[in-house]
């Protein structure tokens, strides 16, 4: 193998040797390395060496797991070359949700030496009764993009799957391949059985990250980078091949369309986002790999792993939101170790400009975001227990001790486990109904089995933790253009135009559960503010932004218009630096605005907004609504608040939070996911919605009934565990309020302050209401119609 490398003028990297040494002597290993350092080969090397020694024995030898199907396929391609040219006696195959069932069957009966797969496919393989035999020869498990698993339910599922594997094949060596993170020790604990080895590969050359300069005015708010399009196009012209990363689908569509308008050089520019039909996406990826494109405008659908060495420039439109994520994106460019990766940041508004400058500094200082390690979800555990039951009889005691070896469940109490086991058995309701229909039964020897083996089908149809928001097919004539979020469609009226797949489409209506569109005549589309999929600003980066705001001597790094903006704000109000929780009160158009510069990220700010609405309502301030960004939140009311300190007391996370949580529609969304993941309701597979029939039931109704009749049910507890992160982000909000409560600076102003402008300009189109607020809206509508009717009759 060394010869093979030498023929290509390559030698082993130290970390590749170290990985091989550790793994071959039986240690688990985690390799932390930037992209393009031969990390994947490092992971496979021990397997290659091991199998060359002992030859294939017709059993699965190495399992490669990645978070992306596409990555599994891509790595398959990448190791094909060394395996063939070295004529290593290795068979290897890919297995994902897209693999045809005939091939899956063959893989089951006649396993390859190496299998490239995903956490979901691993869970499926483990659920068959021949799993013990299938995995009995397994020696290595390679987990790629390990950092992508710590903070989500897929990670929970993978971790449980690994615990199961350890039970089936005791001396499997685990090798994790991770991007560089701030806390390698925690990652080691997450992956490794006991004594794992950490191998860190430093960045050879720091990436070169610039901010796109334009002579145009940088907008106060908005996310579309309209001001920067010409400069953006020029940068693409100068690069050999570029990827333009954006944060939302709407941005992708807008930028793609406008780049083509400017495209007088006839560059080959393509678009890639998760809503496009899979075939279209694969086509773009293939053209890109073949060097047949000059530029791709993409969302995070193109984010993970894929190695495109030909890309020499990564452009990030919109703020990076996190240091680690930015570094991983930048790492896509220029996979040559001795040359820096080149990236260009394109801030779309003034706050984002600050964020980009702060990110530059953090990268130089190598301050990575703190990786978040979540506690395992109850719903994922329920799914796993069901899967274990599908594979054969088990003992509760043994399964419990196996489960707590999975890091996310290390602190799971036995009573919690029993409660979830009970849920899997019969739904776990206080009111016992239909003992004859239990899913699991206990045999006389104490082992637990599936009552009816046909139920394994139910498990296999519903495996996985990714619950997509309901999607609808977009049809132009007979052509399928892709899928679009149902939440977006409900806000369209016939005749509305929107961008999709790089075309301006006209919404005609809905038929057979599909969105019917035609080509729009004009080239201007009304672009919806669709906020889905946006990640909140990381705590690390938000602190860096506040530090920058507070450090006046650093402002020389900012364009004059930005530093002028800060200075003006300082004159009129105060600076929300890292030590201050700035609150502003000012009247605007007859309403009183209360602006809180929390910098807690959009999810936590949204939660705070709801909580303040409640408090202010109770205090007789008559609040009417709020808007938020990652940085701040504005609540408007008919009466001005007298006192701010108590309004923002951290005890808002106590009773107020509990009460709010009881009836927020956000909780229903979390419940919908938990209900599907835990197996309470079955997954609706896209495209299978029948027309002309009522939908069977909705998880919202189940939630309402359950809350009224059994508020302590384990699935409601599962949802409560989930609120600490993600959509509700209670943990971060509590931390922010706690930290800053003694440092509240309140400014009463006569008029809107410079930094508050984006909040006031922002129109929140997508309001989230609870039932009472919805009723108020219906009432309001009726009154409006009545008034209109009176006017007409007088006329």
């Amino acid at each position: 193998m060394t010869n093979w490398l030498a023929e290509r003028g390559w030698t082993w990297f130290a970390h590749q040797r170290e990985t091989a040494d550790a793994a071959l002597s039986g240690h688990d290993v985690v390799v932390f390395a930037p992209t393009g350092t031969g990390k994947t080969l490092a992971g496979f090397l021990p397997s290659f060496l091991d199998i060359a020694d002992r030859n294939s024995n017709g059993k699965l030898h190495t399992l490669y797991i990645s978070p992306l199907k596409a990555l599994a396929v891509d790595v398959h391609r990448n190791i094909e070359a060394p395996v063939e040219e070295l004529s290593l006696p290795i068979s290897f195959e890919t297995r994902t949700g897209d693999t045809p069932s005939s091939r899956r069957q063959r893989q089951k009966n006649n396993p390859p030496d190496f299998l490239m797969t995903t956490p979901e496919s691993l869970a499926l393989l483990l659920s068959y009764d021949d799993a013990p035999n299938y995995f009995s020869g397994l020696r290595y498990v390679i987990v790629d993009e390990l950092h992508a698993f710590f903070d989500n339910k897929r990670g929970d599922l993978l971790s449980l799957g690994l615990a199961r594997l350890a039970h089936l094949a005791a001396d499997v060596v685990r090798i994790g391949l991770s991007a560089t993170i701030d806390n390698p020790e925690k990652a080691r604990k997450w992956l490794c059985k006991d004594e794992g080895v950490i191998i860190c590969v430093p960045q050879a050359v720091a990436p070169q990250i610039d901010i796109l300069q334009t002579n145009k005015r940088i907008p106060w708010s908005g996310h579309m980078a309209r001001h920067a399009l010409r400069a953006l196009y020029d940068a693409i012209v100068d690069a050999r091949m570029s990827v333009v990363f954006v944060n939302t689908r709407a941005q992708a569509e807008f930028i793609f369309q406008n780049l083509w308008r400017l495209n007088d050089r006839n560059l080959r520019i393509a678009i890639h986002h998760g809503s496009l039909e899979r075939d279209l996406r694969r086509k773009v990826e293939a053209r890109m790999a073949a060097g047949g494109l000059d530029c791709v405008v993409a969302t995070s659908s193109l984010d993970l792993g894929l190695d495109w060495a030909d890309v020499d420039l990564v452009i990030q439109v919109g703020a990076p939101k996190g240091i680690s994520r930015l570094l991983q994106r930048v790492g896509r460019a220029n996979h040559r170790l001795d040359e820096p990766s080149r990236a260009l940041l394109v801030p779309t508004n003034r706050f984002e400009y600050l964020e980009c400058v702060a990110a530059q500094a953090e990268i130089v200082a190598n301050n990575l975001d703190g990786a978040v390690f979540r506690r395992g979800g109850y719903d994922v555990l329920a799914q796993h227990i069901f899967g274990v039951a599908c594979s054969g009889p088990f003992f509760a005691d043994k399964l419990f001790s196996e489960i707590i070896t999975a890091a996310p469940y290390a602190d799971l109490a036995r009573v919690e486990f029993d409660e979830i086991l009970n849920f899997v058995t019969n739904g776990g309701y206080v009111l016992q109904a239909y003992p004859q229909y239990k899913r699991l039964t206990k045999l006389t020897n104490g082992s637990i089995v599936l009552r009816d083996t046909k139920m394994a089908r139910q498990y296999r149809m519903n495996v996985g933790t990714i619950v997509e928001s309901p999607m609808m097919k977009v049809k132009l004539g007979n052509r399928n253009l892709g899928n679009i979020e149902e939440n977006f469609v409900v806000n369209l009226s016939p005749g509305d135009t929107f961008l999709f797949g790089g075309q301006v489409l006209c919404f005609e209506g809905i038929s057979n559960a599909a969105v019917i569109v035609s080509r729009a005549k004009g080239s201007e589309a009304q672009i919806p503010s669709y906020g889905g999929g946006r990640l909140p600003l990381s705590s690390n980066l938000s602190e860096a932004v506040r530090r920058l705001i507070g450090a006046r001597d650093e402002w020389c790094r900012l364009p004059k218009q930005i530093s002028d903006w800060l200075r003006l704000h300082d004159d009129r109000s105060a600076l929300p630096d890292e030590k201050t929780l700035l609150v502003e009160l000012f009247p605007h158009r007859g309403l009183h605005h209360t602006v809180v510069y929390s910098f807690a990220g959009r999810n936590a700010n949204q939660t705070l907004g709801f909580l303040l609405l409640r408090r202010m309502k109770r205090g007789g301030l008559k609040p009417l609504g709020f808007s938020m960004t990652d940085y701040a939140l504005s609540v408007w009311s008919l009466n001005p608040p007298n006192e701010i300190i108590s309004l923002l007391d951290p005890d808002i996370m106590g009773d107020d939070f509990e009460e709010w949580l009881q009836d927020t529609p956000l909780l229903k969304r979390l419940f919908r996911d938990a209900a599907i993941i835990s197996g309470l309701v079955e997954r609706r597979h896209p495209g299978h919605v029948k027309t002309g029939r009522q939908i069977l039931f909705s998880s919202d109704l189940i939630y309402d009934v359950l809350r009224r009749h059994e508020p302590d049910h384990v699935l409601l507890k599962a949802v409560r565990r989930d609120v600490m992160h993600g959509l509700i982000d209670a943990g971060r909000l509590a931390d922010t309020l706690q930290q800053l409560h003694g440092n509240i600076v309140c400014r009463r102003l006569d008029m809107i302050s410079p930094m508050a402008v984006p909040l006031i300009l922002q129109i929140t189109r997508e309001n989230i209401l609870n039932v009472d607020e919805e009723d108020a809206l219906l009432h309001d509508l009726e009154q409006e119609v009545i008034r209109a009717a009176n006017v007409e009759s007088i006329d």
Binding site: Y437, R439, D452, L680, I702, V705, L706, E710, L778
Partner: protein
């Protein structure tokens, strides 16, 4: 509490936010699609929905009966989710149901779900005509007499101030009145769906069920 008084086929009808209809002249309450024991019907296939929907639906029915104190109740089909629902019901729920009807005349119209099951001591009929209004479970578009039916679980969405609200609803044309489903765990069919096309027209009015009121939706704002 604000109910909605409408005129249908020359009669005063009161729409209740629970999804019940009250016919003043007949002193009669009309409800359809209770789908009692719907959740438990899924247990057989190993899907354990919360077994509380029957109790919840009966609670709402009791509320409507207390409010209107009708002499009669018209049960417009699919009162039980399937032919065995009665057997699955808890004894206390069965007693509760029968107690509710103790001093009320009942008229049971057959549904498609419950296989014509009625509780012991009751009888059902395919359809029923009262004072020129035909009551049946599934609408019959071949007939032109005024008709009140159920079955489709209509829901409608309206858009106002940038927000969409989706609720179960009554759909009312000069000829026909379509009842919302009364059950606690019943899904819905959008009024924009093709099978409800016969109900569309310039005089069609949609009434959405609020928390404690019924709202008239302006036809132009109903979105599908």
């Amino acid at each position: 509490m604000s109910n909605r008084l409408i005129e249908f086929a020359g009669q005063a009808m009161e729409l209740h936010h629970s999804g019940a209809l009250f016919w003043h002249q007949q002193n009669m309450l009309v409800v359809g699609d209770l789908h009692l024991e719907k959740a438990s019907s899924y247990h057989k296939s190993g899907q354990f929905l919360p077994p509380y929907d029957t109790a919840e639906t009966l609670r709402r029915l009791a509320e409507a009966i207390t409010f209107f104190t009708p002499a009669r109740i018209m049960l417009l089909g699919d009162i039980f989710h399937d032919g065995e629902a009665w057997l699955r019901m808890r004894v206390s729920d069965r007693d509760r149901l029968l107690n509710l009807f103790e001093s009320i005349d009942t008229i049971w119209v057959e549904g498609n779900h419950d296989e014509h099951f009625v509780p012991p001591g009751h009888i059902s009929q395919e359809s029923c005509e009262l004072d020129g209004i035909n009551f049946r479970h599934i609408m019959d578009t071949s007939k032109q007499t005024p008709e009140i039916s159920a079955h489709y679980h209509p829901v409608a969405s309206i858009r106002h101030r940038g927000t969409r609200v989706r609720r179960a609803c009554f759909v009312c044309t000069p000829q026909r009145l379509l009842m919302p489903a009364f059950g606690a765990l019943t899904g819905g069919l959008d009024v924009g769906d093709v099978v409800l096309a016969p109900l569309r027209g310039p005089d069609t009015q949609v009434y959405l069920l609020g928390n404690d009121a019924v709202f008239a939706a302006p036809p132009g704002l109903v979105v599908s």
